[in-house]
Every structure is written in C-alpha cells, then in structure tokens.
Amino acid sequence: MLPVIEEEFSKKRKLLAQKDILDMIAMTQTVPGLIAVNSAVFVGHKLNGLWGMVSAVFGVICPSLFIIMTIAGLFPLLAIKNPVILSSFECIRAAVTAIFIMTTIRLSKKIIHRPLDVFVVIGLFIALLVGINAVYLILTAISIALVVSMKEYCAERKIP
C-alpha cells in the first residue's frame, strides 16, 4: 500500500514531498487502525483538507465494494455445490493457511523481543482458543501494555 502511494503521489504527480511520505509512514505506524484507511486519511487531508480526506477514504472503500458485490451478486460462489469448484476452494484454503502461518511467523519476529511479550502472547492465545470473546482479549492486551508503558515512563522520569 505505502510504496504504491509513494510512487503515485510523490514520484509521478509530485503532490507530496518525500518528507510527507515519511510523516505518513510514521503516522500509519503510530495510529491504530486499518493501514489502507489511515494512509487515505493522511493523503486526502494533506491534499485537500476535510473533503480530500472524505473522498480518499471513499476511494479506498470503492474497490472492495464494487468487486466483492459483483462477485457475490453475479457468481454466488459460496452456494456452489460443484465438486470441481469445491475442491479448488479446498486447495485455496490450504494456501491461505500457509499464508497465515508465514505472516504469523514474520509478525512474531517483529513483535516478540522480551520475555514479557512471550508471556502475554501465549496467555492471550490460549484464552482465545478456549473461546473467550476476542473483544475482551484485545482490551486486556491494551490494558496490560498501557500499565507496562506507564511504569516504564515513571521509571525513566524517576516518578515514584
């Protein structure tokens, strides 16, 4: 997503400076949420204020809307009982499994550094497997992280 934006807005159309691109990367990494939407908000707002933001977000939503609605409306793939197509889907699911496992491994290399990370991630994972509502788990993860970062902050500034 980000390289495509850089290519289009900075190199091709010269609408954004290199600095803006760096800012945008920083923002997508410091603001929680969907990366595609985040960058649309940033680029749209930078180029044309509030309306730029609205139209950029609309633009990011549109491909999903049109393509998926066409697929779901014209080819009701989920309702198909044809064994050939079902077997093709079976293989696609296997490939998607591989993608998920690889992405998980890559992400864990980026995220897990300290013993605390291992502890929290494994604990949350077991809780999710056992069937605890994912929403509560996300909120728990954030609360733990907040407490830890507050403690570190206090330790740095020597606030008791």
């Binding site: 997503m1 923002m27 990494q29 410091t30 603001v31 929680p32 949420g33 969907l34 595609a36 939407v37 985040n38 908000v41 933001m53 977000v57 990011v60 939503i61 491909p63 999903s64 809307l65 998926i68 609605m69 779901a72 989920l78 009982k81 064994p83 050939v84 077997s87 093709s88 889907f89 079976e90 293989c91 696609i92 699911r93 296997a94 490939a95 998607v96 499994t97 591989a98 993608i99 998920f100 496992i101 690889m102 864990s108 995220i111 990370d117 991630v121 949350l124 994972f125 999710l128 929403v135 788990l137 996300i138 993860a141 954030i142 609360s143 992280a145 907040l146 830890v148 970062s149 570190e152």
Partner: protein
C-alpha cells in the same frame, strides 16, 4: 434493522482492529460462525479466501462480503463504511494533534497492546484455517481442554489429516519461502492445482451422501408401502411385520396409513415454499396454520399426496423420495421438521448433492428455516 445491527457490529470490529485488518477474522468467526450460525466453517473459509484473492484490503473485502450476504448492496455499503469509520475518526484526531500524539506513553501502550493482539488474532486465524484445510475437522481444542481439566479424553468427530490439503499447504509454504511470488499468485496457483486434480481424479472420489442405513439397505422403503419407519435415523429398521401391518389397512381418502393406524392428513401436512424450504409439520402446525404460513411467505403449498408419499419419519427420506421431490418442485433443498417423543428433530436435505444434514450439526440452512418458523409462531 439488519443494517443497523450490521453497522453496530462492524463499527465495533473496526474499533478493535488496532493492529491491522487481519484482526477482524477471529471477531467475525466468533460472531457469525460460533454465535449466529450464519456460516459453516468451510463457507467462512471460502469467504475469507475470496476476500484475500480479490484486490483491496482483506478486512474491507470481508466486510463488504458479509454485508452483502446479510442484506444485499445496502448491507455491503453499511458494513464497509462502519468498518472504516473508527479508523477515520482516530486518524483524523491524530492528524489534528499529531505532535502531542507521537511521544505520549498512552499511544505507545495502545500500539504495543495492539501488536500483541494482532499477533494472537493472526495465530488464531491460522489455527482456524488448519481445521478446514490440513485437517478434516477443527482442531480438538475443546477436547484437549476437557482432558486437561478432568483427564477424560473424548475422540473428536471425523478428525484426521486431509492429505491433498497438506500437499497444497506444503507446496505453498515452499513457494512462499523460496520464490518471490505474491500472495495472490500463490492462491491462484493453489486454486488451479485444485481444479486440475479434481478433474483428473474425477470418478475415483467416493462422495456417497449420508443416508440413514435403513434407507440404504432397502429396509426402509416404507414410502412406497405407505408405511413409516419411525426410528430410521436411530438405526431401527422397518420390519416385515410393520410393513404388513401397515399395508394391510385400507384407509379413507382423506387419511393415510402410518405405523399400523390410519391418520388424519391434517396433522401431517407437508408444505413447500417458493423460498426453498419444506416444512414437514407434525404436531408443529395444523393444516390451516400451514396455509397461513405459506400465505405470509407468499409461497406455494403442496401436500404430501402431490408426490405420492403417504408416510412420515426421517428414516424414509430415501433416494427415490428425494428425486421425486426434486422433480416435482425443482427446489434446491428442504427443511424437515419432525417431532416425536417430546422433542423436535430437524433435518436439512440438500437436493443438489443429496446429503441430509442433521439438526445437531449446527447447519446454517436448517437454522434459517427454524428462524422463519419461530418468526411466524
């Protein structure tokens, strides 16, 4: 109303996607597969695969897809906008006060928590997908939990290794680590492999549909003999005796013979609706209630006599009857509600593949028909 619920649900999902779009998968799974029974696990997997395959962010694609399936285009629009909205709001606030935002320990905390959660959610998605590709059934997590807690191990249903899935899985892993192929091309490759292999193996795959034993071994041909085989699904067979005791009776025109007795047609009124559901009512509905039900659904009503069947009971849902129903009605499938000994069983018969699904399998199609019935009642 559906749109309102969709909006709230997807707004919640959007607000929870702290660490990126993949986090939506467990949220969707818990809501729509486990709680609402809207999709089966495989359908959910296929839905996500299509979303992964098509251009656009996966989370957006999934939202559009689920929204569309729930309430056509307006549902799709609602779900997608609702999913994007929390991020737009947060990003907008962040833009207007970016300087304060960057170094606060609050933001650092939220982001760290989001990363942890994202990793956990992605791992869970991988586990979910393993259960529908490499293995033939979901991983026996609950059984393991039960075993750890009480020491009692219960074998899971149909759990085993799906070898074709495993091969494609390993192949994709190799392609991903050794080549620079994009995810989309790997998925398409897998799909093509599946197409070719199924065409090549056509005819060697045994896909015998599930029928009650009594129907398969011919002992439950009660339909043609106007006899019912009550315990068809629990394994009891129609005996020679029960057949003769039934056929020996000649019942009046408005009655039919069942288990040795003549029964009034009004209590056994099958209904066929144009929406593809077939409700075989027993004590659930009287004949006039059934007529009302069909009128409300603006559906066509057909009685059992229309396809020459004079009995009831799941045990007699045999191939002949399924073919006859499909020829008469051109339905895709039907719901069968059967109440006996104070409990109601429900079956969904899929006329395309001839499979009968039992109610305890948490089947979506059967659940939808039950909802229709509840709404009416």
């Amino acid at each position: 109303m559906i749109n309102f619920t969709l909006f709230l649900q997807f707004f919640k999902f959007g607000a929870m996607c702290f660490g990126g779009g993949y986090m939506i998968i467990p949220l969707l799974f818990q809501q729509y597969v486990e709680k609402d029974n809207l999709f089966s696990l495989t359908e959910f997997g296929n839905l996500l695969s299509i979303s992964q395959l098509t251009p656009g962010a996966v989370s957006m694609n999934t939202a559009t897809y689920v929204g569309f399936l729930r309430n056509t285009w307006s549902g799709a629009l609602t779900a997608t906008v609702a999913l994007a909205l929390p991020t737009v709001l947060i990003a907008f606030i962040a833009l207007t006060c970016i300087k304060k935002f960057e170094n606060s320990c609050f933001v650092k905390g939220v982001l760290q928590g989001g990363r942890w959660a994202a990793l956990v959610m992605l791992g869970y998605a991988a586990v979910l997908f393993m259960g529908m590709s490499i293995f033939t059934a979901p991983l026996p997590i609950m059984q393991t939990k039960e075993f750890l807690l009480s020491g009692h191990w219960e074998n899971p249903d149909n759990f085993g290794i799906n070898y074709s899935g495993l091969c494609v899985f390993l192949l994709s892993l190799i392609l991903m680590t050794k080549t620079k192929l994009s995810m989309t091309s790997i998925i398409i490759t897998a799909g093509v492999v599946g197409l070719i292999s199924s065409v090549a193996l056509a005819g060697t795959i045994d896909d015998t549909p599930f029928y009650p034993d009594s129907c398969l071994n011919g002992t439950a041909t009660g339909w043609t003999n106007a006899c019912e085989c009550y315990q068809g699904f629990s394994g009891a067979l129609c005996t020679e005796e029960s057949l003769t005791s039934c056929t020996g009776l000649s019942c009046p025109a408005n009655q039919y013979c069942n288990n040795g007795f003549c029964h009034d047609l009004t209590h056994y009124s099958p209904i066929i609706t144009d929406k593809g559901t077939f409700l075989l009512s027993r004590s659930l509905m009287t004949y006039s209630e059934a007529q009302e039900f069909c009128r409300k659904l603006s559906a066509k009503m057909v009685t059992r006599a229309d396809f020459d069947c004079h009995g009831t009971g799941a045990g007699c849902l045999n191939t002949i009857l399924l073919n006859k129903i499909q020829q008469t009605t051109r339905l895709r499938g039907f719901i069968w509600l059967d109440s006996h000994s104070n409990k109601t069983d429900a079956y969904y018969a899929d006329l395309n593949d001839g499979v009968i699904y039992q109610s305890n399998k948490n089947n979506r199609k059967y659940t939808q028909a039950l909802c229709l019935l509840k709404e009416f009642k």
